[in-house]
Symmetry: C2
């Protein structure tokens, strides 16, 4: 079991993933720009866990990151680049997971932002030359993550990255959420496809009044 | 039951989808640049069907299209724009389905081409102002389509479009393949997400030596 820091750990997605990791036995540190807010969110999460699983702490982002071997970026795309760049030194040598979804919303619904042939994960890798960035956990809904189901066992976590070892680490982490390893989706640049796919799932959720999830048939027992 | 023309009906994807539509009771016309080749492919398909389902014919693309209410574009992305533009008059007033995937392949594997913030389906709609374009059937593998399974009932067909009635037609067509209606994924512009997602599925297929398929959990009985 490792220590996982979540940058953006007070938002619904970050907190939900942190909750699942902690339930799976990992120690988690919620990071926020505001250390007091992070500590409060950690207290709430610890109360929700009721003593199950790993420890939960909260700290200002840079401090949170230093305690962890694995760091999850769960921040809004707006402001993403500046925040990631500011953490470059603290993130050196670590596996950094990006679940960032660069999405836009207008009258016609959600859509992927046109990033000009790149992705949030690749941008983060460019800003973090001494870290290894892996893309994963884009498609799990915050409501499901924060819900009561023991495992989100109808969903698959797609993992993309250029470092096989880091990717294996993240695929293993996914099993704490879905009950089976994440699926190796390929190279990091496929984050260009994984990130905006979330717009499709949100669109389906709105249309059908459901919480949809992604499953890949034919790989495992799914 | 309607008549469905498949532009690019001699390729594996087009032929596989045509086979499924015919098995579902629709009359199909395989289109090709070469009418004789289309007729030969139609004979092969008819032999495979062995009298089941709808009729199968073959014709040069423009002639194939005039016989149909619904037309599927199943052509390679290379040359797509010129071919579609050349059929604009013949396609006027029809529902046009695009399953075109603009993909690239290099040493790092498959990836979505950067179309500069558009998609093959939206490009087709721009070239066909008197037709209604719907995006669908991007993710079904040609091998599965041409295989023996009665229904691809572990997979979902995602359908995007801006015309609700045309979208309903295509969602119904999807049921002939998967046993349940296609899922309304939202506006046509979400084809930007659906088309290159095929690169992820191909990447998974190569890595795991499987034929993966996409399923959306939480919408229907899936």
């Amino acid at each position: 079991m490792s220590t996982i820091a979540v940058v953006g750990g007070t938002g619904p997605q970050g907190k939900g993933l942190a909750c699942r990791f902690a339930r799976g036995g990992h120690d988690v540190v919620l990071g926020s720009r505001d250390g007091a807010r992070a500590a409060q969110a950690a207290d709430e999460l610890a109360a929700r866990l009721g003593g199950r699983g790993g420890t939960v702490a909260g700290a200002e982002n840079a401090a949170a990151v230093t305690k962890a071997e694995v760091v999850l970026l769960a921040v809004p795309y707006a402001g993403h680049d500046a925040l990631v760049a500011s953490l470059a030194a603290a993130l050196a040598g670590k596996v950094v997971i990006s679940c960032v979804n660069p999405l836009g919303f207008d009258q016609r619904g959600p859509h992927g932002l046109d990033l000009g042939g790149t992705s949030a994960a690749e941008t983060a890798q460019g800003l973090l030359p001494d870290s290894v960035v892996v893309g994963a956990f884009h498609h799990l809904s915050a409501v499901s993550l924060n819900g009561d189901a023991d495992l989100l066992d109808h969903e698959d976590v797609l993992v993309c990255g250029d470092d096989p070892e880091a990717k294996q680490t993240v695929m293993g982490l996914a099993a704490t959420i879905t009950g089976r390893p994440g699926i190796d989706a390929g190279a990091l640049r496929l984050a260009r496809q994984l990130e905006p796919l979330t717009a499709v799932l949100i669109s389906i959720n709105k249309r059908y009044k459901v919480r949809s999830g992604l499953a890949i048939h034919g790989v495992s027992g799914s």
